[in-house]
Structures are given as structure tokens and as C-alpha cells.
């Protein structure tokens, strides 16, 4: 069952001032079956909160999230084993001093034999063209190499779903293209938020998030057009099928 379903999900958080809870995501339901899904929206619109629902980094206040049939609430360990997550800033997720060590860290639980673990890590690094920088400090890598390394470390355990939170934000054009080609070649179901509208055009389905609401759900070109109109203040509010507003 390769679908991800959100049933009546909303996310609210308490605020320090004692006022009413702040709604980060208003109630919505979705069924995601496509291989490439894009999420676009302004800063602070709720994209990251939405993405964090996929692997239980954020739990819904109401409703349920099922990833390939498993609940992110009651079966979070298995969900996380199946959902790889790549953050905007790779330095915040690379734990070890070098790339080789970081990929080996990912493999520690699944591959107990140190020699086999090293061989597996090298194979993963080689796949992403990172073997030549495997023993360099992660701080000495370029932005693109770091982002690819973060991707390699996550994909080392072969998750079924890959979630990327604005992975191209810190990259220059060349590295962005490299990332784009890499993502296009992956077998995993990919869910990616981004401000790069060219990158979004590669997606099978795109969601537009605005003020904690999914205001558009459809094809990439239409979604980009809607988002542009939204930014320019000329968007017409469209009813989105299956999404309570």
C-alpha cells in the first residue's frame, strides 16, 4: 500500500502568552499516491509543519496520518524507518565529522559488522559521487556536496519515502541542478517543499499552502500559476476537492 493519507488532520500549538492555541495547520484530508509531490507556499505558511507530519516529528492535534498503512502516532518507529527526512540546512542533520562516518552512523543499527558497514557506506557514497570527499570534514564540503551527503546518509537505510524540506534553499544554480537530477533518479516516493518553482515543475502533484491551509492541489503548472497569483494578490479562491476549508 504505497499511499500516504491524512484524515481530518489539524495541528495546533499552545502559546506562551496564555491566549488561544495557535493553529499551524487547519483541518484537512489528503490521499497521496503520486511518486513526486511538491509543496509550495510562503515562509511561515505551514509547509515545514506539514512535512514534519510525515514521519511523526510533529503529531497531529486531530486526525490521523498513515504512511503506507502505518500510523505516525502509534507506529512512529517503523514510520521513521520508512520515511527519510532531509532538512534545509544539511549541517543541522549531519552528526559525524566526516561523510563516511555519518553514513556509517545511519547504518549502525542495520549492519552490525564494521567491515560490512564500511563497505556499504562506501557503496552509498560512491552512488552519489561523494567517495572522493568521504574523509573530508563536513565543514570543508561545498553546499551541494553537503546536501548530497545529507541525502546519502538518509537514503543509506533505503527508506520507501523521502521528505525534503526546502533542500535547494542554500544551493547555487549548479548544485541545485545536481540535486534536481539526483532527486529525479530516485526510486523513492518523494515529497518536497521548495521555493524553487522550476524544481516544482518536475513534480506529479503540487500542493500550495497558505496560512496553514492547503489552498490548491493539482498539477505542477497550475499550482505554480496559482501560487504566483496568490503572491501577486490576484488569486481566485478555488474550492479544493476533499479538503475541508
Amino acid at each position: 500500500m504505497n499511499s500516504i493519507s491524512f484524515n481530518g488532520v489539524s495541528v495546533r500549538v499552545a502559546v506562551d502568552t496564555g491566549d488561544a492555541p495557535k493553529t499551524l495547520l487547519h483541518r484537512f484530508s489528503l490521499e497521496l499516491t503520486e511518486r513526486r509531490i511538491g509543496v509550495i507556499g510562503a515562509n511561515g505558511s505551514g509547509k515545514s509543519t506539514f512535512l514534519r507530519l510525515f514521519n511523526g516529528l510533529v503529531a497531529p492535534t486531530d486526525g490521523t496520518v498513515l504512511v503506507h498503512g502505518r500510523s505516525t502516532d502509534s507506529d512512529v518507529r517503523r514510520v521513521r524507518a520508512n520515511v527519510g527526512f532531509v532538512f534545509t540546512d544539511p549541517l543541522s542533520q549531519l552528526v559525524m565529522p566526516t561523510g563516511r562516518e555519518d553514513v556509517e552512523l545511519s547504518l549502525r543499527r542495520s549492519v552490525r559488522n564494521p567491515k560490512e558497514r564500511t563497505a556499504r557506506a562506501e557503496a552509498v557514497l560512491d552512488r552519489f559521487g561523494l567517495l572522493r570527499v568521504a574523509d573530508q570534514s563536513i565543514y570543508e564540503l561545498s553546499g551541494g556536496e553537503r546536501q548530497l551527503l545529507a541525502l546519502a546518509a538518509v537514503l543509506a537505510v533505503n527508506p520507501g519515502v523521502l521528505v525534503l524540506d526546502e533542500p535547494s534553499t542554500l544551493l547555487d544554480l549548479r548544485n541545485r541542478e545536481l540535486l534536481r537530477r539526483t532527486i529525479a533518479g530516485l526510486d523513492q516516493q518523494v515529497i518536497m517543499s521548495t521555493h524553487d518553482l522550476d524544481l516544482v515543475l518536475d513534480m506529479d502533484r503540487v500542493l500550495v499552502v497558505e496560512d496553514g491551509r492547503i489552498v490548491f492541489d493539482g498539477g505542477a503548472a497550475e499550482a505554480v500559476a496559482h501560487y504566483r497569483a496568490l503572491c501577486e494578490g490576484t488569486a481566485v479562491e478555488l474550492p479544493v476537492e476533499g479538503l475541508p476549508r
Partner: protein, 215 residues
């Protein structure tokens, strides 16, 4: 991160005698240095041990730059401790305490410089296996060490960045402009690291999501 703190905990590949020394022996040396710091009562002995440890460090081929970098990192705090102890207990005691801490720093740096992190983590896992019967998870012990090794250079680098920013604004003499940003970025880093570890399924404690959305 502009600072070069990342070099402090990095493994330096090599085939020296220290590199080839079994991990358990290196662990033992570090533990012995820690214990000796409580037992040594003469500053001259502390100085001798310090010189021996520096000699061993240089024998590993990790280089004097790395050695000085490790020592430089703890200089501000040791300076404060040394001055306080000098005022309270006199020069010899202050020298002994500072030298004993430096011995521990050199021993720990030698261990991390000559041991690949994965070997270090495998060693920690082996050492902590007996605690399994009490419910401890050896892999989590190892992960804690890994995060600690990663955090030290991060904080050193953050301090270098903040110091440069403070200099650029003419605030290099304002302790608040130095300490507060480092503190805030360290807390933010800790949260990010927690999220990243959870997202990668590393160090999972229970089945509960990391951050519950609460009303």
C-alpha cells in the same frame, strides 16, 4: 560555521604506534589520566605527566597545530580557574590543577585523533554491553558520545563566529554580546540535532513523536 573548531575532534589517519595501540589501552590511558588528576599532589609531577602526554601526542603524527588547538580551546576557562586557585590556594596548587586538566585534554585529544569515530563508538558499545541487563542501550551510549564529539567543535566554531560578529560591531569587550549568542545558537543547535536524530531514527527512546502538538 567560519571557525575551525571542526578540526578539534576529527580523526587524523596514520599508522603510528599510537594509531596501532588497541582501543582498550587508549581508553585505559584516558581513564588513568582522569584518575591521576585526583591523586597527583605535586605540580612538578603534573608537569612531567603533561610533557609525556604531549610527547605521545606528537608521536602519533597528529601534529603540533592540532595539539595547540586542543589546548587553546580550554585556555580561557583554565585561565579563570588557575587565577582563582592561585588566589585561594597559592601558585603550586593552581599550577597542579591546571596541568592535571591539560593532561586529560591531551589524552582525550590523542584518543580522538588516532581512533576512527566508528571504532570509538564500537568500543563504547562493547564497554557498555554489561549495562544491558539494567535496561541500558549500548548504541545510545555510542550515539551520546558521537553527539558530544560533534557538539564540542560546533560550540568552538559558534564562539569564533560570534566573536568575529562582535568585533565587527565593536562589541568585543562586551561579555553579553559574546556569551548570549553562543548560548542561543547552542540551544538551537541542540534542538536541530534532536530533530535530525529523531528523523533518522537514531537514538529512539520510545514510540512517542518528538514534539507533540498541544493545545
Amino acid at each position: 560555521m567560519r571557525g575551525h573548531g571542526h578540526l578539534l575532534a576529527q580523526h587524523v589517519p596514520g599508522s603510528s604506534l599510537i594509531h596501532r595501540t588497541p582501543l582498550w589501552l587508549k581508553f585505559l590511558v584516558v581513564a588513568a589520566c582522569g584518575t591521576a588528576s585526583f591523586l597527583i599532589v605535586d605540580w612538578a609531577v603534573s608537569l612531567a605527566v603533561f610533557i609525556v602526554m604531549c610527547g605521545l601526542f606528537l608521536l602519533s603524527g597528529a601534529g603540533i597545530k592540532r595539539l595547540l588547538g586542543s589546548l587553546w580551546m580550554v585556555t580561557p576557562i583554565l585561565l579563570a580557574i588557575g587565577l582563582f586557585q592561585w588566589w585561594q590556594l597559592g601558585g603550586p596548587t593552581a599550577a597542579r590543577i591546571v596541568l592535571n586538566v591539560l593532561v586529560c585534554v591531551v589524552a582525550a585529544s590523542m584518543l580522538t585523533a588516532t581512533t576512527p569515530v566508528q571504532d570509538l563508538l564500537d568500543g563504547v558499545v562493547s564497554l557498555s554491553k554489561p549495562f544491558r541487563r539494567f535496561g541500558a542501550d549500548p548504541e545510545r551510549f555510542a550515539l551520546t558520545i558521537a553527539v558530544m564529539l560533534r557538539s564540542i567543535p560546533f560550540i568552538a566554531g559558534a564562539f569564533a563566529d560570534v566573536r568575529d560578529s562582535a568585533r565587527a560591531r565593536g562589541l568585543e569587550r562586551n561579555p553579553r554580546a559574546l556569551v548570549l549568542p553562543v548560548f542561543i545558537s547552542t540551544v538551537a543547535y541542540a534542538r536541530q540535532t534532536g530533530d535530525a536524530l529523531a528523523a533518522r531514527g537514531l537514538g529512539e527512546a520510545d514510540e512517542a513523536p518528538l514534539s507533540q502538538s498541544r493545545e
